[in-house]
């Protein structure tokens, strides 16, 4: 079993790297982490890591047709 904190940290780095360039889904992050950490990293670890990122407010969900994981930012559609 992988260290959930380490998985969350790697996920955060990936989200930050792609911020504004590509929308990442939870499944994209999960596949990337399993590839990075190998068999030690399970889907449950990834679930817990995503939950940690959301509950800490470091990441948020966005919706553009589907749901994606991104960094908190100012809502484009919101009035000034």
């Amino acid at each position: 079993m992988a260290d959930v904190n380490a998985v969350a940290e790697e996920m955060y780095k990936l989200v930050a790297e792609f911020f504004g360039k590509k929308n990442l889904k939870a499944g994209d992050l999960t596949k990337a982490m399993i590839e990075k950490f190998g068999a030690d990293c399970t889907k449950t670890d990834c679930k817990l890591a995503i939950r940690q990122l959301m509950e800490s407010g470091r990441c948020v969900y966005s919706y553009f047709g589907g749901s994606y994981i991104t960094l908190p930012h100012k809502e484009g559609a919101a009035p000034e």
């Binding site: 889904k25 939870a26 499944g27 999960t30 679930k47 995503i50 939950r51 959301m54 509950e55 407010g57 948020v60 969900y61 966005s62 919706y63 553009f64 047709g65 589907g66 749901s67 991104t70 908190p72 930012h73 809502e75 484009g76 559609a77 919101a78 009035p79």
Partner: protein, 403 residues
């Protein structure tokens, strides 16, 4: 707002005419308490005049930790209609079967009058309680009060959507399993999948107690759970005769409308060939005092329906023809796990599970989730030929007797 300051709604006023309920009338009535309603009607009237929508979709509004339950909406005319500059929707998880005490409804309405427009939709097409119209700053306070009152948000986005069910055994004698319990158990089991969207796209589960399918699960749910029975229709001959005496034309209105013509009425006795019955419920609906579902009850599990969004509409296909009621929850958990695993691995972005099955083929899907094809998966021979027998399998079949 004084009457002379109210928005002029010439086109919307037309929708107040006639004997049927009118959302315009209801919003105007709510406008006596909430200034949001006047701006809402003003913007809608403008949309009707211009034949153009004035809502923008929000991307990231929500409550901390959740990826669903809030649908962001902003006006693209915030200066003209400042009270609907933000007009977010909250989806609140409904109780199974939509049973409330009047106290619970008052609590919900009070919360929404404090934190939103006061307008609700009981219920939306998802099944949830829909709270219409609030500002971003009111989302967390509304959520806090809702959770303190024992409610939670429902699903939205690429998540498992709030499961819904018919009233089931609470009000309906035809229910073949406890839809309310199943719906509640599924809701509790998959909280993570509902609040933190993990899928390629949405996934809906709907539970209907009998083949009448009052929640339209066969047309609207990715996984439909439809109650059915395995033994014979229960028949009360005296009650059948009573229907005939009361003027029901059993041959015309019951037997001739049976889709498999599995019934005969000789003027005295109704004979049912239960082996040919497809459980359409027509005869039971027409003669509820005389005919009832059998006693060996359970559910049929179906997969893949959806309304048209990215692609066209689909109806569900049978996946498991019959699961006894006492095995239902365990079977569902195992089946859902296998379906999600396959969909997670091979589903494209914004591809519903039914569309994935169409793309890869039902035979491959069944193989991947470890189910054997069964005749019940096909509507009629050669009607839906997605099961192909390989040459070697066909060759291995024994020759029919006398061939």
């Amino acid at each position: 707002m004084a009457d002379d300051q109210k928005p002029k709604t010439k086109l919307l006023d037309e929708l107040e005419k006639g004997p049927w309920p009118s959302f315009v009338k209801e919003i105007k009535q709510a406008g006596e308490k909430s200034p949001v309603c006047d701006d809402l009607l003003g913007q809608l009237e403008l949309s009707y005049e211009e034949k153009k929508g004035h809502w923008k979709h929000g991307g990231i509004v929500g409550v901390l930790g959740y990826g669903g339950g809030v649908i962001g909406r902003y006006s693209d005319l915030p200066d003209k209609f400042p009270n609907v500059a933000h007009f977010h929707t909250m989806r609140v998880n409904q109780p199974a079967g939509w049973f409330y005490t009047s106290d619970a409804i008052r609590t919900l309405c009070d919360i929404w009058e404090r934190h939103g427009s006061g307008l609700t939709n009981m219920h939306g097409s998802t099944g949830d309680i829909i709270f219409l119209g609030t500002k971003t700053s009111e989302l967390e306070p509304a959520f806090k009060e809702l959770t303190e009152a024992g409610f939670d948000l429902g699903g939205s986005g690429s998540a498992m959507r709030t499961p819904s069910c018919c009233v089931g055994p609470a009000r309906c004698e035809w229910s073949c399993y406890d839809t309310l319990k199943t719906c509640d158990d599924l809701t509790r089991q998959y909280q993570d999948e509902m609040h933190r969207p993990p899928f390629p796209y949405k996934f809906k589960i709907k539970c209907s107690g009998c083949p009448n399918d009052c929640v339209a699960s066969i047309a609207r749910a990715d996984l439909s759970i439809i109650g059915t029975w395995k033994d014979d229709i229960r028949q009360d001959d005296a009650a059948v005769a009573q229907y005939a005496r009361a003027g029901l034309d059993i041959r015309k209105d019951v037997c001739d409308r049976c889709p498999t013509r599995c019934m005969e009425w000789d003027g005295q006795k109704l004979a049912i060939n239960n082996r040919e019955c497809v459980h359409c419920m027509h005869c039971i609906n027409v003669m509820p005092k005389a005919l009832r579902p059998g006693q060996e009850r359970g559910a049929t599990l179906l997969i893949g329906s959806k309304a048209p969004i990215v692609q066209g509409a689909l109806l569900s296909s049978v996946l498991v023809p019959f699961v006894p009621e006492n095995e239902l929850m365990d079977t569902l958990k195992e089946l859902i796990r296998r379906i999600w695993e396959f969909w997670d691995e091979y589903g494209n972005n914004r591809e519903r599970v039914g569309e994935l099955i169409q793309r890869v083929g039902m035979a491959n899907f069944l193989d991947a989730i470890g189910l054997d094809p069964a005749p019940e998966m096909v509507a009629a021979p050669r009607d839906n030929p997605y099961i192909f027998f390989q040459k070697e399998e066909a060759a291995a079949e024994p020759e029919p007797a006398g061939a």
